[in-house]
Amino acid sequence: MNAKLLVAGIATLALSAASAHAADNRAALELIRKECSSCHGPRGISVSPMFPNLAGQQAPYLEAQLRAFRDHSRADPHAQAYMWGMAAQLTDDTVKDIAAYFASQPPARGTAADPAEVAAGKKIYENGITAQNVPPCQSCHTPTAGGNGPFPRLAGQHRRYLEKQLEVFAANLRANEIMHANAVNLTALQISQLAAFLSSQ
């Protein structure tokens, strides 16, 4: 009898927690539909390459980025111009809900690029360039480039956005020690080839 009561008690607790969370989630969904979608697309697949695709992105990575926009630690020019304001009033719960929403959306399908460029980019992605001290990207971003936890999905991302990020990492405008080291020795051509490969996946 007692045990049953306890179970029922836990069940109601869980239920109310779930509905409270559902209510929060609605706030995040409304924000996404009314605001974020204007640039990032209704389900996180954007039209303009100035705005990254968010669909299918790793949730921990998205959370980290939104917090970094909010506390201004991601400070490349576009982050300042567009995302600092957008993230300014997000609560930790909303950040979680937004990240969970985009992570659960089907990712963008790749767009075709010049096969020679794609092949060259694939080679760097898989093997790195020992002579230039560039590690294989797949060791962190996974062989499919789907990402893993804090390592973002790169597959299907807009080509121009990827190039831009490698440029701002290299210039230390987007501060990240790991990616700075990885990007600083890449030539413009190699960046372009990597981006061609990744955006076509």
Binding site: R33, C39, P42, S48, Y82, Q89
Partner: protein, 441 residues
Amino acid sequence: MKPTQARPAVKLGLILVALVAALAVTPSATQATPAYARQTGVSCQACHTVFPELTPFGRKFKLNAYVFTNVKQLAPVSEQAQRTLALSEIPPVAIQLQGSNTMLARALPDSGLTKELSQKNSTEFPQALSLFYTGKIADELGAFLQLTWNPSSNSVGIDNSDLRFANHASFAAEETPDLIYGLTLNNNPTSQDVWNSTPAWGYPFIVTNVGVPPVAKALLDGQLAQASAGFGAYVYLFDHLYIEASGYRSAQTSFTNATTGGPGPLDSTAPSARISSPVAPYWRVAWEQAWGSHSLEVGTYGIWAETHPPGIGESGPKNTFTDAALDGQYQFITDDHTFSLAATWIHEARKFDNITLGFSTTGTRDEILYAAGTPVLGSAKGRPDTQGAILEIDFLPWLNTKLGAQYTMYGKFNGGTRNYDGFGRRASDNNTLFLFVWTSF
């Protein structure tokens, strides 16, 4: 004023093509921004290419009634947990300042002065000074209100104003963008529009106060600006299709200012046309297609209005205007470059009740409409045809400050090329170089 049979409709076509190519020299300060930027925390470049031209996001912001905010809100809730207020902690006000220098190719004749001394160069500082309240009022309600002091007429007046309500409706399918629906209350047909290919926010974005204005303009090309009030409803579907229906009207002719007993703001002595029908219907349909860094819009808009010409009383003759326009806008926006092209073509059919108001078709001079027999501003032929081009180069040292040089060239002015006014003035004498500074903060 004896009405005769209606004259055949007179047609007036207006074509405006604007080309804006911007090579963005990335400005250093990105946070020096007026009210909307303060409210959203987003830099000007999110909403504007070169202000006031809007980007796709800027259009969404306007369609959504200017409410999107990223600043702290005063948001008390009722006992039922309903928000009873949603006010930004800082009021969304901003100041706009325009200053300019205008040079006419040939000085205007001045009866008191010899030709050499009469003026062809005027400096206006400020040319206009405006106070904006632009931003959120409540959760789904926002405003673009502009109060402008115009030194050349030394008057303070309500400039373009737009009060809006907007909301969203979601479709079951998640990948379908929301439907945006809204209501707008504004005082200038097309000022509510989100594309820059319609007159109110179209090219040229700024013009001189002291140049020589051509005698004729289509009704929709600013003739009803701030002289009418319109209310309308719109929807934006699938991020593609915009449909709007609005109605405009003017105040009664007999309207007088209750306190001073003088003429009211929309009174018959007012220089602009007045709508005499109870309501002038305005329509707008546009399709937008975006791919990659490109966006393309094609649309149509128009108005049907019966008006009293300026200076004619309520019982006088009426003009019937049907303005039907096509417009298009193309934008290419990337980090480093922006290119845009906007064009509109307004076709105006006018029907006049009374023969004294006829023009070009019969060659009757119209003292009221076309001021024949007037130097500079008149038309010897009584024709309104004006053709030319406007070139403009802008430099934005900061995103909120524009330095511009604008050159207006006339091939034809008020129906003529060499001696259009009958007093020896050539169309090209009205060519105007206009240098300006335009900033808002």
